[in-house]
C-alpha cells in the first residue's frame, strides 16, 4: 500500500481529456470542432498535436488554457497554470522585454525584487540575458518569440514566486510558423534544450509533420471537422525518423483527402 502512496504524485498527469467535445453555435449552423477526444499528457512529456487546418487543434489548446470551455466531456488539469505561447509573440509594445516577462508576476502580486530576479533568470534561459531593456520593436521576430516563451514560463509561477509541486505544462500554438526557415530551425533546437532544462510537459500544436517528428516524443494526429484523435505515433524511439515521417505524412494526406468529396 505504501508503494502506491509514494508513487501517486508521479502518476498525476498535467492534463487529461475525458471524451471532450466542443461545438460552436447552435442548431443547423453549428460546427463540431472537437468530438470525443481522449488524450493524456504525462509529466515532462513532449506531445505534438498534428492536423490540417480546421481540425480544432487551436480550439483544443484554448480549452486547456481556460480561454474557452468544452461543451461535452471534461478536462482534468493537474498542472500549475498552463503557460501559453501563441503564433504571434504578442508582446506588450509599451513594456520592455523584461517588463513583458514580469507582467504575469506583477498581475499575480509578486514583490518587485523577486519579479526582477525571476525575469532575469528566464531571459537567461532563452539566451536573451542583457537584452531585458530592449523594447519589442527593437527585437527580431525570433527574439520576440523567445521573450514570449519566457513570459509564458513566468505565468506558471504563483504569487509566492514558485510553481509549487504541481507539474508544469507548456502549451504552444504553432509558435514558429511565422518565422523564416533558419530561425525556426534554431528555435526548435532551443525549445528542446529548454524542455530538457525545465522538465516541463509540452503540448505543441503544428501542421508541419517534420517539425512534429523532430520535436515530439509522441505525435497525435487529429482529423478535421469534427476533430477526433485518428492515430498516435511514438516517435522518440523510432529507429528511422524519415520512415515514420513518411508514414505520418501519408496518414495526414488520407485525412485531408477524405474531405474532398
Amino acid at each position: 500500500m505504501t508503494a502506491t502512496i509514494d508513487t501517486l504524485p508521479d502518476v498525476l498527469s498535467p492534463v487529461r481529456f475525458h471524451q471532450v467535445g466542443k461545438t460552436f453555435g447552435t442548431g443547423r449552423k453549428s460546427v463540431v470542432a472537437l468530438d470525443g477526444v481522449d488524450l493524456e499528457v504525462e509529466p515532462g512529456e513532449f506531445v505534438c498535436l498534428l492536423g490540417a487546418s480546421g481540425c480544432g487543434k487551436t480550439t483544443l489548446l484554448n480549452l486547456v488554457a481556460g480561454l474557452d470551455h468544452p461543451t461535452a466531456g471534461r478536462i482534468e488539469l493537474n498542472s500549475s497554470r498552463p503557460a501559453v505561447v501563441f503564433q504571434e509573440a504578442a508582446l506588450m509594445p509599451w513594456l520592455t522585454a523584461a517588463g513583458n516577462v514580469e507582467l504575469p508576476l506583477r498581475m499575480a502580486g509578486v514583490p518587485k525584487a523577486q519579479r526582477r530576479a525571476k525575469a532575469a533568470e528566464l531571459l537567461e534561459l532563452v539566451r536573451l540575458a542583457g537584452l531585458g531593456d530592449k523594447r519589442p520593436h527593437e527585437l527580431s521576430g525570433g527574439m520576440r518569440q523567445r521573450v514570449a516563451l519566457a513570459r509564458a514560463l513566468a505565468s506558471t509561477t504563483d504569487s509566492t514566486g514558485d510553481a509549487g509541486d504541481k507539474p508544469s505544462l507548456l502549451l504552444m500554438d504553432e509558435p514558429f510558423s511565422a518565422l523564416d526557415a533558419i530561425t525556426r530551425d534554431v528555435l526548435q533546437g532551443e525549445l528542446l534544450r529548454i524542455w530538457r532544462a525545465t522538465g516541463t510537459a509540452i503540448l505543441f500544436v503544428t501542421h508541419d509533420v517534420r517539425e512534429a517528428v523532430r520535436l515530439g516524443q509522441r505525435v497525435v494526429l487529429l482529423s478535421s471537422r469534427p476533430g477526433r484523435v485518428v492515430q498516435q505515433w511514438d516517435v522518440e524511439d523510432a529507429p528511422d525518423a524519415a520512415a515514420v515521417t513518411d508514414e505520418i505524412n501519408t496518414a495526414l494526406r488520407k485525412v485531408i483527402s477524405s474531405h474532398a468529396a
Partner: protein
C-alpha cells in the same frame, strides 16, 4: 558539447543580423534645427506678406493694422504686466475646465467602450455632441447660470468631454484582440486585464483624444469669454478681444488673436507633443515626419 556551442553561436549571429538598426543620423543640434527652422521661416514669410499688403495700402488702416502696431500692443501688455492677468484668467479656466472634463470623460469612455448597452444608448449621442459647436450652448448657459464662471465651465465641458471620451473609446476599440487574450492566458482577471493590458494599450488613441479635447476646451472657452463679458468675470483673452472690437481698435483685435493662438499652440507644443512623442517612441511608433 561542441554542437551546443555551435547552436548558440548560430542563434547569436541571427540575433545580430535580425536586430533592427537605429537609423537616426545627424547631431542633436542639426535635428532640432531641421525641426524648428521651417515653421519659423513660414512665420517670417507670412509677416513679410502682411507688411507688404499693409505698405501697399490695399485696405484702410482701421481694417488691416501694421505688424509693428500689433507688436507694440502686445509689447505694451507685456511691459505693463497686464498680459499676466489675461493669461492667468484664461489659462486657469481652461486648465480647470479640462481637468473636470477629464474626470467626467474617462469613466464615460470606459463605460461606452466596455458596456454594449451604454455604447448603443449614448455612444451616438456623444459622437453627435462632438460635432455640435459648444458655443451653441452659450445662450442656454447664460440663462441657466447667469453671467458667471459656471456658465463658462459648462460650455467648456460640453466642448471637451465628447472629444476625450471618444478618443478613449477609439483607443480601446483599436487594441489588437490578441492582447487581452494573451493577458487572460497570463492570468489577468477582469480588473487586472483593464489595468495592465487594456488601458496602457489604448494610451496612444487616448492621448489623441486628450489633445483634441484640449483644443476644444480652449476654443470653447474663447467663444464663451467673447460672448459672455461682464466685469465680474475678470478680463481674459476673450474679453480683451471683445474690448478691442468695442473700441474699434483693429491692432488690439489682432493682438488678441495672436495671443489666443500663441497660448493654444504653446500648450500643445509644450505639454501634449512631448507626451505623445515619448509614448509613441517607446512603442516604436514614430510620429509622422
Amino acid at each position: 558539447m561542441p554542437l551546443d556551442v555551435q547552436e548558440g553561436s548560430v542563434e547569436a549571429g541571427l540575433d545580430a543580423l535580425d536586430t533592427p538598426v537605429d537609423t537616426t543620423e545627424g547631431s542633436r543640434v542639426r535635428r532640432i534645427a531641421a525641426r524648428v527652422l521651417p515653421p519659423i521661416g513660414a512665420v517670417v514669410v507670412l509677416v513679410a506678406i502682411w507688411q507688404a499688403l499693409w505698405a501697399a495700402a490695399f485696405w484702410p488702416e482701421f481694417k488691416l493694422p501694421a505688424p509693428a502696431a500689433v507688436w507694440s500692443q502686445i509689447w505694451q501688455l507685456v511691459t505693463s504686466g497686464d498680459i499676466a492677468e489675461l493669461f492667468w484668467v484664461s489659462v486657469h479656466r481652461a486648465v480647470i475646465g479640462f481637468a473636470i472634463s477629464l474626470l467626467i470623460a474617462v469613466p464615460l469612455g470606459l463605460a461606452i467602450a466596455n458596456l454594449t448597452v451604454v455604447r448603443r444608448g449614448i455612444g451616438p449621442l456623444v459622437s453627435g455632441l462632438q460635432s455640435l459647436p459648444s458655443v451653441a450652448w452659450v445662450p442656454a448657459a447664460i440663462l441657466w447660470f447667469g453671467l458667471n464662471d459656471r456658465a463658462i465651465y459648462w460650455v467648456v465641458l460640453l466642448g471637451a468631454v465628447p472629444s476625450i471620451a471618444n478618443g478613449l473609446v477609439s483607443g480601446l476599440d483599436q487594441v489588437p484582440p490578441i492582447l487581452p487574450r494573451v493577458g487572460k492566458a497570463l492570468g489577468a482577471g477582469r480588473f487586472g486585464g483593464i489595468r495592465y493590458i487594456l488601458l496602457p494599450a489604448a494610451l496612444p488613441g487616448f492621448l489623441g483624444g486628450l489633445k483634441q479635447g484640449w483644443a476644444f476646451s480652449w476654443r470653447s472657452l474663447m467663444a464663451a469669454e467673447l460672448i459672455a463679458t461682464s466685469p465680474e468675470l475678470g478680463e481674459g483673452l476673450g474679453q480683451y478681444l471683445h474690448n478691442g472690437m468695442s473700441l474699434s481698435d483693429i491692432s488690439m483685435v489682432f493682438a488678441g488673436i495672436v495671443l489666443i493662438f500663441v497660448v493654444g499652440v504653446g500648450i500643445e507644443l509644450l505639454v501634449f507633443r512631448p507626451l505623445e512623442n515619448t509614448v509613441l517612441k517607446a512603442r516604436g511608433l514614430g510620429p509622422a515626419r
